[in-house]
Amino acid sequence: MSDANNGPILRAEGLSVRFTAPGGRVARAVDGVNIDLAPGEILALAGESGCGKTTLARTLLGLERPTEGSVSYEGRPLRYSARALKAHRRAVQLVLQDPTGALNPRHTVYDAVAEGLRIHGIHDNERDRVAAALSRAGLRPPEKFFLAYPHELSGGQRQRVVIAGALVLDPQVIIADEPVASLDASVRGEILALLLRLRDELGLAAIVVTHDLGLAWNIADRIAVMYLGRVVEDGPVDEVLIDPRHPYTRALVSVLPNSTITESIVLAGEPPDATQVPRGCRFHPRCHVLAGGSAAEAGVADQCRTEDLPALITSDQRQAACHYVAAHIPTSTTPTSPSPA
């Protein structure tokens, strides 16, 4: 805890997770990711389905073992003994997407929230702890919800129960996978406001996995945009979403309603699958900067097609893994131009 104030609370270094698909093909779900989460920081992990964001989140929780690289919590590398993992998962809590699936229909709200305490052998003041967690999650008065079953609650209330189940163990970090994707639009904002309030009041750091850039704008401090297992752009939300640099981020931002980028860039094709990561820049087959000739003008077209980019390092500043950006925006901190000349 002593170094918690200056170092990152959760860190991934050179993380790769590979799965072997039937037929022996290897899926590079996470393919060289460096990530730092500062105490009290909210990081959005954004990208389309199949980009590896959920696998990355699961690896940070210790639910997947990295093929390469390491996860560390408060400066100490995560060990994969049952005991160490149990302790890790007390400090780093998961909030799932679908609260209906995450709750046992035959458990009351009280049991659902107390389950974590029981697993971790915390028996003192159970009732008070459950009540405190429920009211922190916005279910007040908590006693009113103790004996309710999930089917008696609305979607928003169920998601609050799931969040209370995470809070009851006093975690330092919450990892939320699409926390509002299954909720009605008008309820969504309330749950996001709750996550912000938990950070402000309890100093809780969070990684929010989402495909929704509006959500990142609503609550996150920093955003890491993933494409095919790599972080391709990383930086403060205000900078990345207002002036995205990586062509993929630009395309994602451009198709938002009322986008700051007036001309919408609709990428053709589908994200390629992780068993066939293209050569060179992994985004190049869909890149409009390359297809439109701008990359050739900047003299990097060959690099785009043949030269893989190094994984982004962990940094406070914004960075993009793109040959064109490196050639075009020399002031930016990119791995290919580490020192401003």
């Binding site: 639009a185 969504r188 609503n218 979403l241 994602l252 009322n258």
Partner: protein, 335 residues
């Protein structure tokens, strides 16, 4: 010009184990050929029921009153034979779950050809040739005609659904959450396709979604539903930017504009939950959640009233600012 689709005072009541559930409670709108209307609302507001009612796809025993005129024919009273002719050829629906709407053991090409064979009495060969043309139009590789649904990605399957919806050249397409399950970029591709096809072929489009921002981007007019009724109806960009009804305002605020400093670290939600259709609040059904509720709201039912020319909202706070051209509001089918 005769409207393509005219819905007048539609009521749909499901019979469930808990008694009568009024899903749609007096809905009226009309759509001209080539016009696009977005219907927005949250789960349980009745928007999908409207889609099913237009093609009489509601479960047996459901009580439907009012009038649905499709291209001059009354859908609710037409014979079953006529109804079969209208489905696919007069109007078609694109549903959300493409995986569940496609037959897993039939090839894509055959499935697209099926309505063509039924409706246009073409030979199998000619129909499958048309199917391949349609696939090209919706941006699917034509060799995919030999594939089975599971071999396609979600975006491709949704394109198959659109190709099927277009197969018999209908005048009306109803898209019910047609892009909701798709990734942002694939959603953008499919929306762009729908917009182009609708414009090129002068197809009327009713697009149903919970996502107000998508509707505002795709449709010219926007209707916001709450508890089985339209609570706001007007030009889509204006409604999205400056809704009159407090619920429509809350719903548009729930979709943040990335880049808007006012919404940075400031998510907007609405306390409470959408109402249970079987147990609606009295008066204005929105009053228990309304941030600007007044004393009379729990006892006064409020119908759509003109707010602007061509723009109505069902809220006691809405004042009639349409005075100079209030007749235009009447022309929209609201009396």
């Amino acid at each position: 010009m005769m409207p393509l689709l005219e819905i007048d005072d539609l009521h749909v009541t499901y019979r469930g184990s808990r008694g009568a559930i009024p899903a749609v409670r007096g809905l009226s709108f009309s759509l001209e050929p080539g016009e696009t209307l977005g219907l927005a609302g949250e789960s349980g507001c009745g928007k999908s029921t409207v889609a099913a009612a237009v093609l009489r796809l509601l479960p047996a025993g459901t009580e439907v009153t009012g009038r649905i005129m499709l291209d001059g024919d009354d859908v609710l009273t037409m014979t079953f034979g006529k109804l079969r002719a209208v489905r696919w050829a007069g109007a078609s629906i694109v549903f959300q779950g493409a995986m569940h709407s496609l037959n897993p053991v039939h090839r894509i090409g055959q499935q697209i050809a099926e309505p063509i064979i039924l409706h246009e009495k073409l030979s199998h060969e000619a129909a499958e040739k048309r199917a391949v043309e349609l696939m090209a139009q919706v941006g699917l590789p034509t060799w995919r005609a030999r594939s089975y649904p599971h071999q396609l990605s979600g975006g491709q399957r949704q394109r198959v659904m659109i190709a099927m919806a277009l197969a018999c050249s209908p005048k009306l397409i109803i898209a019910d959450e047609a892009t909701t399950a798709l990734d942002v970029m694939i959603q953008a591709q499919v929306l762009k396709l729908i917009k182009t096809l609708v414009a090129e072929r002068d197809i009327g489009l009713v697009m149903i979604s919970h996502d107000l921002s998508v509707l505002a981007d795709t449709c010219r007019r926007l209707g916001v539903m709450y508890a089985g009724k339209l609570v706001e109806h007007g030009p889509s960009h204006e409604v999205f930017a400056a809704a009159r009804h407090p619920y429509a305002q809350a719903l548009s605020a729930a979709f943040p504009t990335v880049g808007d400093p006012a919404e940075r670290r400031n998510p907007h939600g609405l306390a409470g939950d959408p109402p249970d259709p079987a147990d609606l609040p009295t008066g204005c059904p929105f009053h228990p959640r309304c941030p600007v509720v007044m004393a009379e709201c729990d006892s006064t039912t409020v119908e759509l009233r003109p707010a602007r020319p061509d723009w109505q909202a069902a809220c006691l706070r809405v004042e009639d600012n349409s005075a100079p051209t209030s007749t235009t509001a009447m022309a929209l089918g609201e009396t």
